[in-house]
Subunit: 211 residues, 2 copies
DNA sequence: CACTGTGAATTGGTTCACAGCC
DNA sequence: GGCTGTGAACCAATTCACAGTG
């Protein structure tokens, strides 16, 4: 039990543990060892034990971890036991695909407000939501208690919109625009950029692999 | 000039430098300092200099880096000076959105083959491509010299398809399925999972922030 | 005896600080 | 004087190894 501030890598891995544990649960496992969890995720057993020890001693020596209770703990730690209202900004191809993606709602992320800057889109409806003008962010976001937003808009608009979202109370941004957003302390950004991901792999394909 | 094997973090950052340099170019900058580049990307100047020094000395002391030539170098290092044929597997909502996303082609990633397991989809066409059955992967992928694939399919199918892709010569996988793929040495995977990204931010929203 | 939890050891990555050059 | 390139110093993360427990 170590109550120091937890490194972000650990938090990210925790989400992986969450999925692995659910898969254990589906398979009807009652107990899981750090060993097995590690094999499922390509991570060492020691890593998993150390990661979990940041939050407390959830296991039993000689036995392992109870799947059910560890899952509960992980959910609680990650804040997954509540519903999160989410704003979506940008309703192009990508935005619409995201709006129709069922996975968000299944995991408790409910898109409750949609914004776009294009006057032709404003007022129309998509996925059961009326599309609002970007300008209404400052009004709607605090009113709905939204603290998470998804950005699916052109790169040149992203910074500006991010700022108005943050001003309106958003603290977590899932950014699909290929831009490095400048955000104040205490605001979190995760970059979702398929091109960057591809481009960081071609490096290895082009003969740089050392092995 | 350090010819040790380059850490993956450095490669990932290199893609960021690539975008920053292009933005410099668009703004007409001829010269850029590690300082300025760092400010654009929220990275320290020393980090940038060290990263670049893995690949060679591209700068001039007292001056900085020539935008044009550094960009050239970065493109060459990352393997971005060629076209990459790409396979797309899975043509649900997400797969179709990816197929219509122009960004891939603009950056030299050309989706040249589309696969799906659903017999109702096989034979139909989407985005100018005929959809083939998954079973044809072993035939088509090597024939077209494909080494990169995008997985946009249900989690339970992902591992199996990944294996047939790897067998067919694919070495880089952009995986949208929420599964940890098991791949042999020398195969690269980048996970694109919006839920994981959201879930690793709620941790901080739920009161764990130390600051 | 199998497995966790954790200090200690190690490895890896980042930042410092300065010599060298323009 | 301004800026790069890089060893050295520092800090962070991972792995080791083992004492402790069911």
């Amino acid at each position: 039990m170590n109550q120091r501030t937890v490194p972000d890598v650990v938090v990210r891995r925790l989400t992986q543990y969450y999925y692995a544990l659910r898969s254990c649960q589906e398979r009807g496992l009652e107990i899981v060892s750090s060993q097995l969890l590690g094999e499922m995720l390509n991570v060492t057993a020691a890593q998993i034990r150390k990661d979990l020890s940041f939050f407390g001693g959830f296991g039993k020596q000689g036995i392992g971890y109870n799947v059910e209770t560890l899952l509960e703990h992980v959910q609680r730690i990650l804040g997954l036991k509540q519903e999160w209202p989410v704003a979506l900004v940008g309703l192009g191809n990508l935005g619409r695909a995201l709006l129709h993606y069922q996975g968000f709602a299944q995991e408790g992320f409910k898109i409750v407000a949609a914004f776009d800057a294009d006057p032709r889109k404003v007022g129309t409806s998509a996925g059961g939501l009326t599309i609002h003008d970007d300008k209404e962010i400052s009004q709607t976001v605090p009113a709905m208690g939204i603290r998470i937003a998804i950005l699916a808009l052109p790169p040149d608009k992203a910074q500006e919109v991010a700022e108005s979202l943050v001003k309106a109370g958003v603290r977590a941004l899932l950014n699909y625009a290929p831009v490095t957003l400048k955000v104040p302390e205490g605001v979190w950004v995760r970059q979702m950029d398929p091109l960057v991901a591809l481009q960081s792999m071609t490096y290895y394909l082009v003969g740089n692999e050392a092995l």
